[in-house]
Structure formats: C-alpha cells, structure tokens
C-alpha cells in the first residue's frame, strides 16, 4: 500500500523531471543565435589552432604530445568550462535579476529538479562541444584517444563538469547584478585559463605550483595525462578539482538566492 504510493510519487517526479529537462532544452534552442555561438566558437578556435599547428610532431614542450593533440585536449576542457561554469553563472544571475527564478519558485516544481534540468543542459552542451572539437581534430589527423584512455577521460570529464557547474552556481550566488555577470565571469576565468596552460604550455615551477591548486590546471593536466603516453588517472589533480567542486557547492547551498530583491 505505502510502497505503491511511493512508487506513484516517484513516477510523477520522473515525469516532471523529464518535462523540465525538455523545456530547458526548448528554452535554449528557441534562442538560435545563442545556440549557434555556443557550438560555433569552440569549432572556430580549434580550426584556427589546427591551421597554426598542423603537422607538428610530438615534443617534450607539449608533454610528449603533438601540439594539436595538446590543444584538442585543453580546448575540450575549455569548452566544458564555458558550458558549465560561464554559462551557468551568467544564465542564473540573469534569470534571477529578471525574476524568472522567482516565477519558478512560485510553482510546485522542486528546486532540485530545476537545477537538474539546467545541469543536464550544461552536460549536453559539454558533450556536443567535446565531440565537435575531437571531430575537427580528426580532420587534422589528431588521433581519437585509445580504448584504454576512455575510462579516465570520461571520469575526468564528468568530475570536471560537476565541479565547474558547482563553481558556476557559486559565482551566480555571489554576483549581485546580472549586468556585471559576464564581466565577473571573464575576469575570474581569463587569467586563470591563460596561466593554466590552456593556450600555451606553462613550464614555470612557481606558476605551476600556484595554478596547480586552482581549478583549471588540474582539469587540463588530468585530461592530458589520460590521453598521454603514460595514460591513467591523475589522482592528485582530480582531488584538487573535486575539492573546488565541493567548495563551490557549499557556497552555492549557503548563498543561492531566487529573489531579485533579497532580504
């Protein structure tokens, strides 16, 4: 008796959750301009890097990889950052300021379902971006990771997108107004990405030690190790990444606001 009630409630929750995921997708695709640039930007960047570094051979400067193998990897990481961290921080603060979050709060949709809908969207965009980047890399003869590399690559991508989603939530919780959101997001991200070896390998002990404790470099390094000659899991980097995710989640849980005019 009780178990059928619980089953019915669970089935109803699943229906609502799928409904929300569907409409979150619709909301995204209904804005074709934004959808276009979400997917075109990473393709353009990797295509340009392809033209610049086509035909280079593996070198110690790129950690035993070819330049394009290196950039396919770091740009894939970058696209996960963009679709999780940047997109979430900006979308959430804009929706809060417009009162869209408050309207959601006024309905019986449980908050966790709303967030799962958004996370599913970020993960979907990340997957498409990573596939596009790897696909363009193939055009420049960058090999697809070997079967042995797939598990560590997948685990690293999942942990990375989870951590950067959490950090996106955290930044959205700390930003007060939506106009400032893109600027704040870039202000944090740009120097960090630059110092973390995304656009050029960093071989400087001081920089490496500092950025090794920040979220971007560990993500890059874990991915690079997974596809590199040694392969396998970069546990220390993954630990740093996850700790940042936990910190982000803690800030988000404590500070997240739905209301454009908080108390």
């Amino acid at each position: 008796m009780t178990s059928t009630v619980i089953q019915r409630a669970a089935r109803r929750d699943l229906t609502v959750l799928l409904h929300q995921i569907r409409y979150e997708q619709l909301t995204f695709w209904r804005n074709p301009q934004s959808a276009f640039f979400t997917f075109v930007l990473p393709v353009v960047v990797i295509a340009v890097f392809g033209l610049m570094f086509d035909g280079t051979t593996p070198s110690p400067y790129f950690g035993g990889l070819s330049a394009l193998q290196y950039y396919v990897t770091t740009l894939a990481a970058m696209s996960v950052l963009g679709s999780c961290y940047s997109q979430l921080a900006i979308v959430l603060s804009t929706r809060r300021q417009n009162g869209i979050l408050k309207r959601v709060r006024a309905t019986p949709l449980p908050p966790w379902m709303y967030f799962v809908g958004l996370l599913a969207h970020c993960v979907m965009v990340s997957i498409i971006d990573v596939l596009l980047i790897v696909g363009v890399g193939r055009l420049y003869n960058v090999p697809v990771p070997s079967a042995a590399a797939w598990l560590p690559v997948a685990v690293t991508l999942v942990l990375g997108s989870a951590s950067f989603c959490a950090l996106g939530f955290a930044v959205a919780s700390l930003i007060r107004n939506a106009e400032a959101a893109p600027a704040v997001v870039q202000f944090i991200l740009f120097p960090l990405v630059f110092m973390s070896g995304t656009y050029m390998p960093v071989h400087n002990a001081i920089l490496e030690n500092i950025t090794g404790l920040l979220p971007v470099r560990p993500f890059n390094q874990a991915l690079l190790q997974a596809i590199g000659p040694d392969g396998g899991f970069a546990w220390r980097h993954l630990l740093v990444l996850v700790l940042w995710g936990v910190l982000g989640a803690a800030v988000a849980v404590r500070r997240f606001r739905w209301d454009p005019r908080p108390e």
Partner: protein, 311 residues
C-alpha cells in the same frame, strides 16, 4: 465559512525597521480580499510571508491550513496557490503556449492550456514569443501562469497595473469568474476603483499595522460619514440667505455637510424653487474609498473641501 488565510499577530523586522508590526486578518473561502497601503507600509512583506517567500519573526500564519514558513509543506502549498507578482518574469524566447504548457507540467491538476489562453484573451498569440508581447499582454500571461495550476487561492499583486481601461474591465471579469468558481483571491492594488469593483473585504495597512478593515462600502465608517452637498449659490444671494449653514468651497461654491441628506436637500431645493432659481452645479457626495484610504494612511490629511467624487 472556513478561513483560507489566517494571520495572527504577524511580525517581521529588517534590522531595526519593523516592516510588519502585529498584523491580524482572516480571509474566508471564496472571498476577494484586498490589501491596500502605501509603498513600504508592509503590504508586500505580508504577502511574501503568506506566499512562503520570506520567513516571519513571530505570529501565526495559516494558508489553506498549511504553514507557509514550513519548508516540508512548500511543494503541497504551491500545488494549491497561484501567484501573479510584480517582479516575476517568463523566459523571453518561449512562445506564449510553451510558457503556459511548461508551467502546466509542474502541477498535479492543471487547467487546460488552450482554454486558459482564451480565458485571458491571448487567443491568436499562442505562437508569439514572450519577448514580443506588449506590457498588457505579458501581464495577462502572468495571470494565466498564476491560474494554470487551478489554485484554491490566488495572490494578485497589482494585477492590472499597465492595463488600458477595457483590458482592466475584462481582467476584473476573469477574477470575478474565478470567485464564482470558488477560488479565494488576495490582491493588492493602488487603484481604489479596483478594490471597489472587486473586493468583498478590504484592509488598509500603514506602518506595519492594519489601520482599518471592512467592506469597500463601510471601510473607515464610510457608510455612516456625513454627506457633503455643494453648489454655486444663485447670483445676488449670499451664504447668509441660505436655509442651511454653509461654508465657502472651491471657486464660487458653497459646501454644507449633513447627516440627513434627504431633508437638507429638500430645504435647499424648496428654497431655490420658491425664488425661481436653481442650485447651479449641485453635487451630493459621500467620501470615496480613496478619500477614506488617504485619511487612513496620510498623517497630514488634505482639506475636506478639495476631496471627494460625486456619488
């Protein structure tokens, strides 16, 4: 009649500012209850506590038998209430129909989407994107989103702000129809005409307290207050010639107040007819709901002679 909303001794402070300082009222099932008050009087804070958006400092609150401050009942409460608020919005790139259908999916027993579109007069705009709607159309979409869950209780925060007069009248009809169907409505408004037209009961809140409560007809002693008769006296006559005590009013007018309008009017018109003249621009007024409201909420009330609408 059972009460849908019960508020007793509600208190809420922001720092040292007492936004709500002991508010009590009840709303019966199927009533339209209007909360009036100037900006910053505690109206919005009171509503937001009832809606479960803010925590209270003290007092008892019951909405549909549930405590809106209890997070465990939040989902159940939101299944049964609808909200049309000032500072909420809809995804700009969804179409009207998609926006309504999305919210319909959040409720156990939603209304029919197409019926609702027709009800709020958005027929023909189903495929238009929300961002392309006019202000009044957006507000009607808000109203639809507030009603989509088929709520037992609907909160309307200044529901017709920005409506043209005919859209306002049709929105009022929608609200009246909801009451006919058994929905309880709590609304705030700055339009006294709206309160007059819609509300079964009215409460005026000022400085965090309810200063008066009643029907639109008897609020603040409106039904028992003195009637004001004013007119321009015939040329050549002075106030001293009149059969009643009168004081000078606006322009050439004179004003007299009375508890017995029938007798006073009879004396005045009889006097005028016997002299073969008329009482030019004659008006007979009771204080309007707006006059009562201004008296209740304004500490330095304006001059009596400058107020009032003709009955």
């Amino acid at each position: 009649m059972s009460n849908v909303v019960v508020v007793e001794g509600l208190r809420k402070s922001y720092g040292s500012v007492k936004a709500v300082a002991g508010v009590s009222f009840t709303v019966g099932r199927g009533q339209i209850f209007a909360l009036l008050g100037p900006n910053g009087a505690g109206k919005s804070t009171t509503l937001e506590i009832l809606e479960g958006f803010r925590a209270r400092d003290g007092g008892r609150v019951e909405v549909l038998g549930l405590d809106p401050g209890d997070r465990a009942v939040a989902r159940e409460l939101r299944e049964r209430i609808g909200l049309v608020l000032q500072d909420i919005a809809v995804e700009p790139y969804l179409t009207v129909r998609e926006a309504i259908a999305r919210n319909a999916g959040y409720y156990r027993n939603p209304r029919d989407v197409d019926e609702l579109i027709e009800l709020v007069d958005l027929s023909g705009l189903e495929r238009r994107k929300v961002r392309a709607l006019s202000g009044g159309q957006k507000r009607r979409l808000d109203l639809a989103l507030g009603m989509i869950g088929n709520p037992d209780l609907l909160f309307l925060d200044e529901p017709t702000t920005g409506f043209d007069p005919s859209a306002r009248r049709s929105a009022w009809q929608v609200v009246r129809n909801l009451r006919e169907a058994g929905t309880t409505v709590v609304l705030t408004t700055h339009h006294m005409e709206e309160a007059q037209e819609l509300a079964d009961r009215v409460a005026v809140i000022s400085d965090g307290r309810i200063v008066s409560e009643g029907t639109p007809e008897n609020l603040g002693g409106r039904d028992t207050s003195r009637v004001r008769i004013s007119f321009v006296p015939p040329a050549g006559s002075t106030a001293a010639d009149l059969p009643v005590d009168a004081i000078p009013g606006k322009g050439a007018r004179v004003v007299t107040e009375t508890d017995e309008p029938t007798a006073t009017l009879h004396r005045l018109t009889d006097w005028a007819l016997r002299r073969g003249t008329v009482l030019d621009q004659l008006t007979v007024e009771r204080p309007s709901l707006e006059d009562i409201y201004l008296d209740l909420t304004d500490r330095d009330a304006p001059e009596p002679a400058t107020r009032g609408n003709a009955l």
